[in-house]
């Protein structure tokens, strides 16, 4: 299933081709039969391939899906093949290609962090933030999942995450805050961001379920975990702020249970090679 609705996929196409393909029409080649192949140019974790296929189907093409989102592809591996009129192939080409390229970049970078961390700590979770490009959440979530991670939070409506920016409006002991939140949201874990070991310990003591450690070094993470071990409080330890593939293993080693990261959203797109030729059959 594509991640996006038909309405959304039509909108993507429409953004790029609102009033027909001027070049193809001026050349008068739209009616020729053609074949278009998508290949991975570099190794990649594939994402949004089902949406790309759906876009080409909206252009009137028949599409064979040759690989699925979430698969790791070697360089040269086929992704999909589309048959159809040149008008359809040339219309959907770049939108379909770009969609796969950009989001496979995100999926690949996500997978890199997942694998780096799980090599050290098999049960660790990687959670991507909501700092995707505004307007692309549908695709961002799909790419994150293709990469093997989860969403830290989809938005503001479904999680309890207390920042310093919230505490600026509060005048009460932390434990009072936790008690109020527990009653207000008994089916949610209570998460709070902390920026130092002492505040982390205080948050644990106050009863938060998850501590999101902001810009802790791996040694600080280890220290915190050691100190928590001596207490009756065993919150989930999530680290955030600057987590990426190069330090994921160190954080995993330090004992973090969740790595929260925005870094995959900055990944370079992965190249998809496209070959278009006349269909001579």
């Amino acid at each position: 299933m594509p991640a996006a609705t038909t309405t959304e996929l039509e909108r993507l196409l429409d953004d790029d081709v609102p009033h027909g393909d001027l070049t193809t029409e001026a050349l008068g080649i739209g009616g020729e039969a053609g074949v278009m192949d998508f290949f991975a140019r570099d190794p990649m974790v594939l994402a949004l391939a089902e949406d790309a296929a759906a876009i080409l189907r909206l252009c009137g093409c028949e599409v064979e899906q040759l690989a699925s989102s979430g698969e790791r592809l070697a360089a040269g591996a086929p992704i999909l093949r589309a048959h159809g009129a040149a008008s359809g192939l040339l219309r959907g080409w770049k939108v379909a290609q770009t969609l796969i390229e950009i989001w496979s970049g995100v999926a690949t970078a996500t997978r890199e962090i997942v694998e780096a961390a799980r090599a050290v700590s098999p049960g660790i979770a990687i959670a991507c933030t909501r700092k995707n490009t505004p307007g692309t959440k549908r695709f961002a979530v799909a790419a994150v999942k293709a990469g093997g991670a989860v969403m830290h939070r989809l938005g503001l409506s479904e999680t309890i995450l207390v920042f310093g920016e919230h505490r600026a409006f509060l005048d009460e002991p932390l434990a009072a805050t936790v008690a109020r939140l527990r009653s207000a949201a008994p089916e949610k874990k209570l998460i709070t961001e902390v920026a130092a070991i002492d505040t982390a310990l205080a948050a644990a003591e106050a009863g938060f379920d998850v501590l999101q450690l902001e810009k802790f070094t791996p040694p600080d993470v280890a220290t915190l975990i050691q100190r928590l071990a001596a207490t009756p409080h065993h919150p989930v330890i999530a680290v955030a702020g600057g987590v990426n593939a190069s330090n994921a293993a160190a954080y995993a080693q330090a004992g973090a249970q969740v790595l929260v990261t925005s870094s995959p959203y900055m990944a370079k797109p992965r190249d998809v090679q496209v070959k278009i030729r006349r269909d001579t059959k």
Copy 2:
């Protein structure tokens, strides 16, 4: 003016906060008065600041716009200040911040190429491709313009650009193609992508107005221009494929009149610092 419509800005907010801000509601702090300031953490060319302000206004805040899209900001420079209920500030915060961060990254990277090239060749144009993240064209175009560049093409409906993928469906001399296109689109420049000096010369002779040189080295660009000088054909020379801030000057020096690039879309976001505090006035 924001680049996006009210409907689109509402959709961005809705993607992030479809059913209220659970944490703020559970904390019961929504009614407190607050002030939120956005600053450039690093130097940046600002983009989408008007859209960010419009988002905060949709959240019920009063916003002072302290810098405009397209401006170059020093580290620490103020961008905007919003006054309003904590519920409104906390609701619009991240969407507004992320919008500026990501697209100011694109604008800043664009500006870097523009300045590198214009230092050598003041009249050169930088044109960004349509390889932006699908679904974000509105913002991509605004960021490209904020960076000082133009769009190479908005999509397929408004330019004539002949690729090899089109020629695969044609069996005629290039001059015949040009003649047909000239008659079909007399108000458009005819552009074609070429991948070698010989095909470039042939395309010039056939009458194309703009040659888009795909992955030429700067010396090859210079050679082509020298060889064209000896002919009656003087097409606009655009270079594409791997153009970025590090080679823009070399291409400009070689005589290119247009640099076509997708590289700004891969830019790292520029950090925006956000400070939220109670409004004690």
Copy 3:
């Protein structure tokens, strides 16, 4: 702030008045100045009053908001007053009125359960299901919150809730399922629906954070809690299936921490009295 976007409120109006108000136009009275008052006819917990006001503002009226969503109103209490042309008042009247009536019905019924339960157990939470009329989630969530409850889940994307229908596709010990879920969703509570005391105990032992007891009687709830007290497992106890205002206290008394209910969605609308008169000032 209204719960709905401008686009959505325009759509509500448009559903009712797509091409003008035929009667008012045929009568030729649209230009007369008028005043429209909304009152609670019966006692109610008010909901969606801000959206109703926004609808009337879209009709060109000036609106004074005289009560806020979430407030308990006595019979006869004023809700809002709108001034404007008869065309605007008569256009927005019924949509605004019906919106308040239906969702205040839901808010009032929600509040009734909340109060019945909290009289016995002050920290208990009432959580409404997602069985609202499809297409009305925005309003349903707002009404539930106005009534003092929370949403059990907004939909399928943000909670882990294992039903028997999921287990039909699984062949593994429950503890293995929990271990996999814990790793996949470390920032979420793991919830499962159980229909008997034994399966509830097994689910607790397997490690679920929340047991959603399906159609348990209050005595069965008490029995379960007593039996859990003898174990090291202390999941949150949520009851679901037939919970309503008449049995909420009993479930609270039995020790449930969360009452999950769809019953407020079946509430009768609360009457809003509307008076329209010429504006003689």
Copy 4:
């Protein structure tokens, strides 16, 4: 044919499952083949079954429609069967089920009034008001029709219905109003709401085509009809305000030709039983 457009049905699904089904994905069961059956748990007049089937098809399922909207079903009667991947079945399940449950409740309650009234007066019409939940008109109209009734008015744009609220802005004899309306809307029946026998007689004499009697008792209806019989005016007699299944026969007996009612919108949903199992074929 579904009552709703594809765009609308996608929106319903999207409201419930904007970013995938977290539980099913975390369990890793999405790819298993399954079968889902919908049955009427209680007797019902079925509504929106075609839309429910269309929703499941949007989820990638194959659906056999086993009963049609408008049909009266006995308890246990099959409604539809869907085959597909567990991911698709579990995704569409609740939205499809809730859509049928709520609107079959409306259709069943509508049918009850229709049958009560027609048992006495076979040609009588039941007309439902526009007081449906804002935003659900498409479904409300379909359910009303499935129940055997008609819409009193779809909205303000297509009928002439004069309320006291209009007359507050008029200063002219009623006959003058009728003359102006007749000329303005010669292809429409002129309807007016009246609240007493005298005003009803006056409205008839002024020339209205339909009298909508607001909160008349059945004896008052009979009295009015008797008194009208002695005049040359024979408007259609519609009764409104408190009409429901328990008094429909009495109003029919009294001679009303149209029963205008909002009561079906307050009907309890009709339970649909859903069974999901592995597809072992």
Copy 5:
């Protein structure tokens, strides 16, 4: 009030200016202050002026509305004046101008028919068909009303109009059809299209409320009315098919009570003169 929603007006602008005004931006004049005046170049009945003003306001301009839709304007009469940045004025200019020009053409042509007919028969109604350009109903209805006419029907959902195309699927006496329709739609007039005097008489006898005479000559209309006068049946007589300003009086003279016409939709646009100048204040 504009006839269109904000969402729709944004869409109109977006159709024309999806990614900024390239010429104005390239010229670098967007920030200059300007004034733009709209005048009627020829006499016209104005339409959609409120929507045009709303479009200019969406472009950031301040607008003085100098004439209202429905007004008859002499050549040279002012319509509106907008102040704002050149970027805003030049952005909204043509969409606002074209909207007024095209729909004032329709309103003017409508008014011509209304006046021709009413000169002869003051109480006659002019009803425009639904044969407007698909996708423009909102504007078409507004222009028809500005011209002084009504809509014959808004669409298929709110009127009973029996064509021969319906009768092709029926095998019953016309009176049986009328009886069934009467019971199904007691609050609607029953309309049928007839193409000859005999079938018109039969339809009247069967009980239709309105006869829509398809392509009758005025003498045939008169003959029919004369023959009906000798019967107890007095349906409303509407004429359709080729009705326009040149024959409207003749049809009115012949006794028609409603003239149904599509001809205004083919009217030539009315020229609006636009003057733009620097704002030198």
Copy 6:
């Protein structure tokens, strides 16, 4: 391929049939099988036939497309045949018919100008303006292309066209303007509107690529071309303002290379005859 998206076509249908087809439902004939044929009543150049077919498919009909948009049809030629339930045929009938009628009118009028001009000057281009009815650009562009013309500009975002209204905000020599535009938009032709021979010559000398001659007579066009021949400047000569089928040949004869026209948008619709009958097979 239809020109419009599914979403748009659903919206067209919805505009006309938001809540079902009241007449067909009241008659109870919806389930009858029928056949509907569309024929050209008069000769026409067909347009939007693929969209009409898609609309009928959305109504559940099977459609055979018997002619393609862009084809010239003789009177009586078949366009399409639809099989399906009467409910589907009657639902889509008028929207599909009107769509073809109106836009085939535009295509036919466009073709007339194309043929008149090309009879004299085979390589001449006809370019239609953006003065289509706001909200119908998708269809207008498709009809213009079906007629054999091109779009002069799709909107403001993709062409450089300098009007006097722009020059009102400029204080510089024309050559300076051209130099700035050339640098800003090196891949675009620079177009300017001129209203007299002298200003045309000045614009050519300043370096514009295309002169759009506003309301020149054919002799003036010829004179200008003659005078330009004596200069080194050879801009494309486009004529605009009052161009239509009766003067197209004269302008072509005078040497214009592009005829810019809005006149096809005012064309009368071309009649499509629709026959609906029971399907007796």
